[in-house]
Symmetry: C2
Subunit: 299 residues, 2 copies
């Protein structure tokens, strides 16, 4: 058991970690740093088992583990505030969804001799805030640990055990591979969902049709994904700009090909495309990433 853990940023992910750490008795004490007054009052109302701190000076040197759960655009400001109090033994991680550019920034800003070992738990929700946190949020989910040539091996071992204790399956990869993989499995899908809802809104304004009423036909499912936190997603899109931009290009190329099939009624080509995606669905179900049962509420 650790003595002291600090969670910086206590929204959906931060408060879920807080709950999981408390539930698994991983740390004697959990400190929370949270800049939003509304979130602080929610945390108090919920009686989450933590001590809210307003400044870092006395707490930081006592810590075993610091977890950054803020949007990535907040990292720099906070690093500059805590730099002076950090000790080399302190394990620092974060839960940001893109890695190459945030790690580059951290390296530049963090005091020499301090290690930062980045994590990415593949879990979340379209809702935000500590009231939606859940100690089981990480259960049976992947957590990516970023392992580079110069990673601190001791900290990697510690964090691997930490994520496993709260139920995650841990996999290690470097930040370059991480950002390429998640540009496709997560970042592009979110961007596409946002873009689809925007397109429907633009269309609704043009035509003055009621679209939302009939959104159960497919649009609804996208609106769920597109309701995710806007600051978090701006940070992800900006930080993984290179991979996402390439992913968009590939997406547009394929969409043009689809449009061509439709306009020329190319039966063979379109059926091939539609069948290909069914195979992917079967793989996802086989890998237990989802279930295959009728889900009539969702179309």
């Amino acid at each position: 058991m650790m003595k002291n853990t600090l969670i910086i940023g206590c929204g959906l992910i931060g408060s879920s970690l807080l709950r999981a750490i408390a539930h698994q008795k991983i740390s004697k004490k959990i400190f929370v740093y949270e800049k939003s007054k509304s979130n602080i009052s929610k945390i108090k109302k919920l009686k989450l088992p933590c001590t809210i701190i307003k400044n870092f000076k006395t707490v930081i040197p006592k810590l075993d583990l610091i977890i950054f759960c803020t949007p990535m655009s907040e990292y720099e400001k906070i690093i500059l505030k805590i730099n002076n109090y950090l000790l080399p033994k302190t394990i620092i991680t974060d839960v940001g969804s893109s890695k190459e550019s945030s790690i580059a920034l951290v390296k530049k800003k963090l005091k020499k001799g301090i290690s930062w070992t980045s994590s990415h738990p593949i879990s979340g929700s379209e809702v935000s805030g500590p009231e939606f946190g859940d100690s089981n949020l990480f259960l049976n989910k992947w957590c990516i640990l970023i392992k580079e040539k110069n990673s601190n091996k001791k900290h990697l071992i510690f964090l691997s055990k930490f994520w496993k204790k709260i139920g995650s399956k841990v996999v290690k990869m470097d930040s370059k591979k991480h950002d390429a993989v998640f540009s496709m499995t997560s970042h592009l899908p979110h961007l596409i969902a946002y873009n689809l809802v925007k397109t429907a809104t633009d269309f609704e304004k043009q035509k003055k049709y009621e679209l939302i009423k009939f959104s159960a036909g497919g649009l609804r499912d996208f609106s769920r994904i597109a309701a995710s936190n806007e600051v978090m997603w701006r940070d992800i899109f900006f930080n993984n700009q290179f991979n996402i931009s390439k992913a968009i290009d590939l997406f547009i190329k394929n969409l043009r090909s689809f449009r061509k099939d439709i306009n020329s009624k190319n039966n063979k080509s379109i059926i091939k495309k539609l069948l290909q995606t069914k195979k992917v669905r079967k793989k996802i179900i086989k890998l237990k990433q989802d279930i295959n049962k009728p889900d009539f509420g969702r179309v």
Copy 2:
């Protein structure tokens, strides 16, 4: 109560209608015409309350109601088979997802003096086949009845009552408006889901990365939508070509603008886009088209 109903095509929707009609005791007898041998043996195994017919001659003149539940590309063939036996009093409807071009075809092929009154229940699933049917599939869902200048008023009144009896909320619109609305709320979302899964597959082949494993980050939700029946969707895309093609153009225009925001790190513009979609989500929840609760299984 009607005497005789015929369901042509007994997959997910057809068998759900069969179950709902039987459950609500709407018709004394239900006949089923189904060309797939595998579906026929499933229907028999499931002991669905119907009589399977192999030809139309003797049955058609006795019918009160015929419901086409096949892919739209099958309509012509079947109309030509039943034309000779149809009577003006027989109510004919279908459940196809696009209307203008299918209605134009029907008008051209159907015997003079016979009415066809088109329906579109907004319900379905990504799974296909009679084994997935559900008598509650239409409960509290919209059903669009197509009303044009020359629609048969008696048949419209009958069908409106029919859909309400099996739980649907009925709304009337003309085929032109229908096809525009659903190009945006259903057809484009499905196309986009197919295209996203295709793009991820192409990327996986290029990079030799395992993407599916990490599909819970967003891709998984699209794969569900993209697993829908390929023949049905080919027919919808081909039949609503004009509206879908325009919708794709608007989508690509917006996606380019997103890419520009990302590449130039235009904070103000991207936050505006991301917030706009959140409002749509709130409207959808307000109109009870979905619920707002954390759904941690889906990210």
